[in-house]
């Protein structure tokens, strides 16, 4: 019993240490990127990608925030943007679908890679699935405009 408890305690401590040496540098990099508004600049470069996903050009920024920084930040930016009216209801739905397949990609990938998962497989599958899903849904929403007119403002 003592042996098992030892295994459990030391094993978990070791895991935490190996997490910390990834998480702390990562958070520094992400914070610098956020403060220097790297994603605003990246969003300008990626404007043409918005057509592929069927979202407005202004929705690219919240998309990048969610994909790189995580879903809570992404959702925060979506809520702000939709209050300002710079993104539409359709953008909001498409972004959430994109995030359902793919968000917080840097942190998740690093942490899972550290415990032995294949990072390339992980990133490629998530991004490909997210693009495919969003593309398909946006085309379907175009053909059935009804979805867009459902009033649901009180939630936003």
């Amino acid at each position: 019993m003592v042996e098992i408890m030892k295994e459990a305690v030391f094993g978990s401590m070791k895991s935490i240490y190996s997490m910390a040496i990834i998480v702390v540098p990562l958070m520094i990099v992400l914070q610098v990127a956020k403060d220097y508004q790297v994603l605003n600049k990246a969003a300008d470069l990626l404007r043409s990608a918005s057509r592929l996903l069927g979202i407005s050009k202004t929705a690219i920024f919240p998309l990048l925030v969610g994909v790189f920084f995580g879903i809570s930040y992404g959702a925060g930016v979506i809520i702000d943007s939709s209050r300002e009216g710079s993104i539409t209801k359709k953008d909001g739905i498409l972004l959430i679908v994109f995030f359902a397949a793919c968000h917080g990609i840097i942190e998740d990938t690093l942490i899972f890679a550290m415990i032995g998962a294949n990072a390339t497989v992980l990133v490629l599958i998530r991004v490909a699935a997210a693009i495919l899903l969003t593309y398909t849904l946006s085309r379907r929403m175009d053909s059935s405009k009804a979805v867009l007119h459902k009033p649901k403002e009180e939630n936003i």
Binding site: I4, M5, E7, A8, V9, G11, S12, M13, S15, I16, M19, A20, V23, V24, P25, L26, M27, I28, V29, L30, Q31, V32, K34, D35, Y36, I71, S72, A75, I78, I79, G92, I93, I96, V97, A100, A101, D108, T109, I111, F112, I115, G116, A117, N118, V121, L122, I125, R126, A129, L133, K152, E154, N155, I156
Partner: protein, 142 residues
């Protein structure tokens, strides 16, 4: 400004590590203890057919349940406590990345006014479809 950013980054890093520790340590201890009881054999036996779809051992169901009910970090604690191959860890990572923390994250979707059923449905389907795919391909390659 750079110094300030780095300082905030370190603070966030430490906070995140602390948050991870609070989840991973108890889960790791719980799963390690569980591993030494007959319960884990029973779980492994019952879920063998289902988890076989993803080329995973039956006890890997613990990882999926913890990941979906709690969060990916709980899943990581469990992965580390169970013996798995690299291909199996990749399969689990893909599945958990698609579908995790369903309770918390659907709350976020709800705040945006989007159907919880739809979001959870999409995420679980992605996890199952790609879990089978990666599991089968991983089984062939390794």
């Amino acid at each position: 400004m750079l110094v300030q950013s780095i300082r905030t980054g370190i603070k966030k890093g430490v906070e995140t590590t602390w948050m991870l520790a609070k989840i991973i340590i108890p889960v790791y201890i719980f799963v390690t203890l569980l591993k030494h009881t007959p319960i884990v054999n029973w779980i492994a036996y019952v879920f063998k057919p289902l988890m076989g779809l993803f080329n995973l051992p039956g006890e890997a169901v613990i990882v999926l349940v913890l990941g979906n009910v709690l969060d990916p970090y709980a899943a990581i604690g469990a992965i580390k406590a169970i013996t798995l191959t690299q291909a199996q860890i990749t399969t689990l990572a893909v599945m958990i990345c698609f579908s995790h923390a369903l309770i918390i994250e659907t709350a976020i979707a709800k705040r945006l006014g989007i159907s919880i059923l739809m979001v959870s449905g999409v995420r679980l389907s992605l996890a199952v479809v790609f879990g089978i795919l990666v599991g089968k391909i991983g089984g062939l390659l390794w």
